[in-house]
Amino acid sequence: MRARVSAATTGIVAALLAVIAGSLLDVRPPDAYGICMACHARDLVNWTVNAAVGTRLTVAPASLVFPVLTPLGVLLGGLLAARTSGEFRWHRPDHPLKTFLYGVVVMNCALLAGGCSVRLLLRTAAGETLGIIGFGALAAGVIVGTHWLRWRAAR
């Protein structure tokens, strides 16, 4: 089933919003920081923890005074779209502990790399060498992962 909005449209709108947010609307420094699911989630979580219990966990300069709210926005946007289209349905989890650990590992790897898949591509588009290296490694990770899934399914 094809969705009503194409992935290409989403990609174009997301990229425009990311660049405008980063370059015109103060979502910086660092550069190319308009959209990142990992760094922005880190900023939001760490800022909240800092405010609640007085720790000094790292947040990006863009989130020092008040944190970026991308994760909240995406969750609300997704919820709105699912509700209005009748696609909201509760699905019970298969392996809760495993998926929880996947989340922990992906966040740690993303913070090590300086961005999730979205921001690595954004940094690549901005012409940063590290972004290009990161996106290449990300693509390699996906290719190896897909081979692994295929191998496991065929066994």
Partner: protein, 139 residues
């Protein structure tokens, strides 16, 4: 405060479109490899090309430019490559990039919500334990 409002609104729009389009930044490469389906891959390419064109255009109309980026040292390159490889590999196993997991959690998929719980906990874990440990081990 501007950044907070901007990201909330941008997130809202992208989250809405992401749910309607099933956009995933990892799924593009995976689907193309598995079944030669380029639907999600087109989204990935569109994002990259649009951003690549938009950075200089927005700078030309008075926005803050990006860069210049300094030359990265070898340790940073290795850490970036290892981290990014991990993001790609584990996201494939987890069945979607962090963006897709946010959208799935918002449409009621509890395993994605569980993933997000780990994802958010991971931020604190990284800065409390993983990063200090890494700093001690690195030259």
């Amino acid at each position: 405060m501007i950044a907070a409002v901007t990201t909330l609104l941008a997130g809202l729009i992208v989250g809405y479109l992401g749910q309607r389009s099933r956009m995933c930044f990892v799924g593009g490469i995976r689907d193309f490899m598995l079944v030669r389906d380029g639907y999600l891959l087109r989204g990935l390419v569109a994002f990259g090309l649009t951003a690549w064109l938009a950075f200089p255009l927005v700078a030309a109309i008075g926005g803050a430019g990006v860069g210049p980026f300094g030359r990265p040292d070898a340790v940073t390159i290795i850490l970036t490559a290892v981290g990014a490889f991990g993001v790609g590999y584990v996201s494939t196993l987890a069945n979607g990039c962090p963006f897709r997991q946010h959208v799935l959690a918002a449409q009621g998929v509890v395993s994605s919500a569980t993933y997000l719980a780990g994802f958010f906990a991971g931020a604190v874990i990284f800065h409390l334990w993983a990063a200090p440990l890494l700093l001690r081990l690195l030259p």
